[in-house]
Amino acid sequence: MSKKRTGVFVCHCGTNIAATVDVAKVAKEMAGEDTVAFTKEYVYMCSEPGQESVVQAIKDNKLDSVVVTCCSPNLHEKTFRDNATRAGINNFTCEIANIREQCSWVHNDKAKGTEKAIKISRSVVRRVNRNQPLDAIAVNVTRRAMVIGGGVAGIQAALDIANAGVEVVLVEKQATIGGRMLQLSETFPTLDCSQCVLSPKMVEVKRHPKIKLMTYSEVQELTGSVGNFQVKALKKPTFVDPDKCKLCDECTAVCPVVVPNEYELNLTARRAIYIPYAQAIPASFTLDESVCLGLNPIVCGKCKDVCEADAINYDMRPETVTEDVGAIVVATGFDLYGQENMGELGGGKIEDVLDGLQFERLCSASGATKGHILRPSDHTEPKNVVFIQCVGSRDPAKHCAYCSKICCMYTAKHAQLYKHHVPDGRAYVFYIDIRSGGKGYEEFVQRTMEDNDTLYLRGRVSRLYRHNGKVRVLGTDTLSGQNVEIDADMVVLALAMVPSKGTTEIAKVLKIGRDKDGFLAEAHPKLKPVESVTAGIYLAGAAQAPKDIPETVAQAGAAAAKVIALLSQATLSRPPLIARVRRSHCTGCGMCVDACPFIAIRLENGKAVVNEALCEGCGSCSATCLRAAIDVKNVTQLQIYEMIEACLAV
């Protein structure tokens, strides 16, 4: 092997790197390496002049490999590999040494930081010595998409993708699409009816020729990679044929089972056979297997007996469906932080203390009380209602550290709705401060305070307890410096938004990252807010972070645009950094076959063979092999060994 001619380009990243690392010294040290023919340092290597200088230096100095010591390869590996291509050398001979995230940002001591940066850079210089020129692998794209979650985010994303002519599979866990937004009564800041806005979109989803709707279904397994995913979904049996069901409601009249209705946040009860809402899509009843007396016509076949349409079939079984898709949008939404976590506020045990979603159902014309605001305990109209903001939010010591973003606005809306329903009632709001950034939002809050005569008290509530049939609220008003004691008929808690249970589950199934609060992690907080860390999987809605409806719809549209852009390509190129077997060394022990998480290795005539279409280059096989017979291209065991040597300065 003739000696390499490597160019090392050291970036200052403004002061991001240069403040903690002596970049000149790094460049000087690298120049001393045997294979390094050229070094350069520059303040912003990723800027246009910086990139041009890389291209020029490659051409001028006849470089055959490049090391850029800068930020994470997640950010600029592609940038500099493209420059290598422009300069006429193979792009896989260009590697990044990360001296920002892995060095300057995490250290203070400049001397030690510089020493570490030199070690990192040297190890990558040694690595490129053995890099092979490789060509990207072209793979075909499956022109279909999957949207997981049928709330407003999922609905919007599915419609946008389908309207571009791409077939979409929309998977929803519940019996109906609509999600949280369908549970809301009116929406801020315009007070337009949530269901009126959403249900036309739901009908459009149902009727769209390009959308395949799978309700009452759960994603169980994901294989493949960007452009060619295989998703296994479980379609749970509803025991009712939606094509035959006439929605006559005779079955619920005879069903002997009564359980709390989760769609009404347990404010009402439902039968074992039920329809979540009148507007449900698909418009059909569902028989809840978990509470039914056993789907046994001898024990109880009352619903089947009365069904004239013969829509009920106790013999339906769960069905596993595998869908081939090229891209996935995850829109699995939020739950509210549990009241049981708020011990000082009753811990969910005081009947007239509700959460925000329950109050929405009380206000909703289609809700538990047909739009009359009534107390759950005695079904009377509450004459004074206390709303408490930031319950569970902004409390890093005990609960969620983050701001749930929408509570200021929906509490203002609740107060207005309450005053519209009960004009002689009194509304109090306890707040820490009002965050009303958004178009028309501040004006809306002002209207709540002034036109709707709501008393805003700045302070926290320390305790809630039952007192003479009312709920006693002990709080403080920090503006007047007084303790406040209110005997409220009803208390509404603006509980923090947390990632839904489904979000937690789907993150495990799809193996996508979550942030410290459990929300789905975006690939980059500024520049890739709708991409997950896994290529081909996109995020939309409150599963990613707390957000209101307009933001959710905007993000869903953005995710759809990304999906359409991805799927409009004829082929995708995959990095060729995949496993390669050294047949002379392979003894056919099969350990790599068992270690491969992608089922990409099989034994053929006593030797391991890699399926290049399936291999993801994770290196599990290489780590398992006792004879170094299987290696990942350009990350071979020899390269890793030499990198370790460089770091240990042997």
Binding site: V254, C255, E264, L267, A269, L293, V299, C300, K302, T369
Partner: protein, 87 residues
């Protein structure tokens, strides 16, 4: 109290211990797991069932139907607006 005033139909279970011959059908087939086998012996020397979980009974009367010895029966405890019609 639910806003739509639905109440679960409940049944009260009566067992004629001495008629039972301990086949265990009622315990095995109760869809709500209301019954269990008693450690006591009856006059015939069998273990009759006992009501372990009275609040879970939905008044489906399957135990009454399946008992070969007519030794168990259910009487509806609480009428509801709908859903109480027995087969």
């Amino acid at each position: 109290m639910f806003f739509n005033d639905l109440k679960q139909t409940r049944g009260k279970i009566y067992i004629s211990n001495d008629w039972c011959k301990g086949c265990g059908f009622c315990v095995q087939f109760c869809p709500k797991g209301v019954l269990d086998t008693s450690p006591e012996y009856n006059a015939k020397g069998y273990h009759p069932p006992y009501v372990k979980n009275p609040d879970a009974c939905h008044d489906c009367m399957f135990c009454q139907m399946i008992c070969p010895e007519f030794s168990i029966y259910v009487i509806k405890e609480e009428a509801t607006n709908k859903g109480e019609t027995n087969k």
